[in-house]
Symmetry: C2
Subunit: 425 residues, 2 copies
């Protein structure tokens, strides 16, 4: 961004769209370094490497049944009442290697998951056979095969599930149960993942009390930091809750600067409106950093601001709980995902039918805390509760953000609306 | 369960429905003890107490604007070009307490979020006023009010968001961002939550190699334990990966018994089919515990078994990766949620249109690893990939389980089907 444009932003406030703001943020996202962690501790982390199959799965011809490995041609004339007798040469349990190949007239007893011996080209289920005990004939154990098998029956060929060279996991992918199964199968006792983003969380406002304090007239306990800490954890970050910031911009600057020793990212709430004590606004006017935006065309959270300072980002969110929550989801979470390597860091979108009378329109697009549910495969969405930006109690029921476009009138009940999903993926 | 019924289950195998199996499991769920943890560490834990409002929110009449607190009756005749002059008595920032009440003819400068002083019954936005500096009149600072206000304008009454005695969080609820905000607001520096369930995870199978081992002919690396560890973490549990169990039931019994020193729950995979080396089946025949079920009418995972031993549960899941994954979601996760206090521990259901040609039916209901997506607010569902129970590679793409009912034919493309959601709530 050109210096004169930055300057004009410092003293005026030009609203940009949410999409523009997200793009400006993601333009600044640089991958965190990689580190190796034991697979057992890698849950929820994002891969700093892709995983390509270095062996096929299965890597041997695998029996899909308990039974006998045979040559299908030997069973050509077999029927339930006219069985074919084959000589049993060995027993092949799982995890062992066959000792001989199956010759015409022979069979090998085999377990589900075991290696099919050479020569054999089918496995017949145990239930379709009968064992002739030693002593019943001159040549040791025999088995009676009571069904005609085709070549390949009950054998999983090499590479049927995964072929050598197949891309199994792309870099940036979040490690969940299925990813862990693949990593284990391919021997990743340690896995390279991006470092956990460290996020220092500050609240501003002289009305704020620490959580353990008794209530005082005119003062409230700070709740945004604790809410944001949970959001940061859900986005794969490590939060650190910092002391409540005073109203003095010099002190704020010193506190933020000190946090940068540890933190990759600074997040503040409050102090961004234009009022007498809006300490973040004052900070942006005096600091030696870059102010990238300080107004976004959205409700709640239009004074959400984003700056760059000493090589690191500062997200200054609005102090209202609802605005703080939404600002995190739209701006901070995508950034945290991007620096951990996520290829699609913006919230996943879907469409739903509006199941509420939303009332009057708004000059800016609204992001309403909401819930979805289905009725006969139709996805419906409704606000999670009272949605004023100052209201905190409905955040607990928000599973998604319902997008109400700007305009004189909100969409009517039954209208198709955009929905942003909040769950991590 | 009567002893003779248990005995018949030990030696025969009677398939029960998934719903019956879930009920038998939940009947055994006893709440884990509560412990106090700092709110900062409570993310993802479940409340062992309900939270009831012990004060209203806001607990004072709160200004919704930057402006002046006035008596509405004083502004009755005010217009943009015919302002009313009021004497400014004080300045009330956030977090402070007004020093005097507002008398007729008076106004108090006030910030957003600050206490509205007694006597005042409206707040007028700063933009609708002009300040008369000291010296402009004989009585100190005056403000020109340019709009007629109504009683209550821009004042949030006491208790508007939350009333005293309101139930805010029910016991068993999972602590996420919105819950943390409420807990902070009500002073819960520590919060009582249920202890984290400790789950020992065992794999069986002599074909299994440890993850760090080089591949050998006929052997594969064990992947189920790592997959299950992630599923356990997602369900709020603490997994411990145990060494691979050998084929000897005596050794298995000793290893499981030892794990019970630490574990609340035992989970095993493999060894539950009826084959020569099905060590869990053998264990169930020789141990001094109770076998509650050992066959469920479902695909994959019909040999999923559940027992009770020394006061603790043993979930014996099928060894195929797909069956293991599904068995965990249908049986183990609900149990883990229930013992942490969750009131609705079964997977959330919705309906969707089947967007695939599923092919032939099945004697048992199928639980297919699947994904959902919307098109014009219609929820559609399709398998996440190849779904044979032996196939592991598609688990990573599973976001839900698509339920295909039992029957000669699977539902056609476009049919309405049940979907079980996997994400935690």
């Amino acid at each position: 961004m050109a210096a004169d444009q930055t300057n004009s932003l410092r003293f005026g406030r030009k609203a940009i769209t949410v999409e523009e703001a997200q793009q400006l943020i993601l333009n600044r996202a640089e991958l965190l370094p990689a580190e190796a962690v034991p697979l057992e501790l890698a849950h929820g982390r994002r891969l700093a490497q892709s995983v390509i199959a270095d062996h096929p799965v299965p890597h041997f011809r695998r029996s899909g049944m308990d039974g006998y490995a045979i040559r299908a041609s030997d069973s050509l004339d077999a029927e339930a009442l006219r069985p074919v007798a084959l000589r049993v040469t060995e027993m092949i349990p799982c995890g062992s290697v066959p000792e001989r190949s199956v010759q015409p007239g022979e069979a090998a007893r085999i377990m589900t998951g075991a290696v099919v011996p050479e020569g054999a080209d089918a496995v017949i289920m145990l239930e379709m056979t009968d064992k002739l005990l030693a002593g019943d004939g001159p040549e040791g154990d025999k088995v009676l095969v009571r069904k005609s098998m085709r070549m390949g029956d009950n054998i999983t060929p090499i590479g049927q599930e995964i072929e050598v060279g197949e891309l199994l996991l792309e870099t940036g992918r979040r490690i969940g149960p299925g990813e862990a199964a693949i990593l284990a199968t391919f021997g990743f006792a340690e896995v390279r993942v991006h470092r956990v983003p460290r996020v220092a969380v500050f609240s501003t406002g002289s009305e704020l009390l620490p959580i353990e304090a008794a209530l005082e007239p005119g003062r409230i306990r700070g709740s945004n930091s604790h809410m944001l800490a949970c959001q940061i954890r859900e986005a794969g970050g490590e939060p650190r809750l910092m002391p409540i910031l005073p109203d003095c911009p010099e002190t704020v600057e010193a506190a933020l600067l000190q946090a940068l020793d540890w933190a990759d990212i600074l997040v503040t709430t409050g102090g961004v409106s234009v009022g007498d004590k809006d300490v973040l606004v004052e900070l942006f006017q005096r600091w030696d950093g870059e102010l990238i935006f300080n107004k976004v065309a959205m409700r709640p959270g239009s004074p959400s601001s984003f700056g760059w300072w000493r090589g690191k980002p500062l997200f200054a969110l609005s102090g209202n709980p609802g605005a703080s929550f939404v600002g995190f989801e739209l701006f901070v979470r995508p950034y945290l995902k991007a620096i951990q390597g996520c290829a699609c860091p913006l919230p996943r979108e879907c469409t739903a039918l509006l199941d509420a009378d939303y009332g009057k329109g708004s000059a800016y697009p609204r992001y309403v805390r909401a819930r979805t549910y289905t009725e006969q495969a139709t996805l419906k969405v409704a606000p999670a509760g009272r949605d004023k930006s100052s209201i905190m109690v409905s955040i607990k029921d928000a599973e998604c953000l319902l997008c109400i476009p700007a305009g004189g009138q909100a969409p009517p009940r039954g209208a198709l609306v955009r929905v942003l999903q909040l769950a991590e993926a």
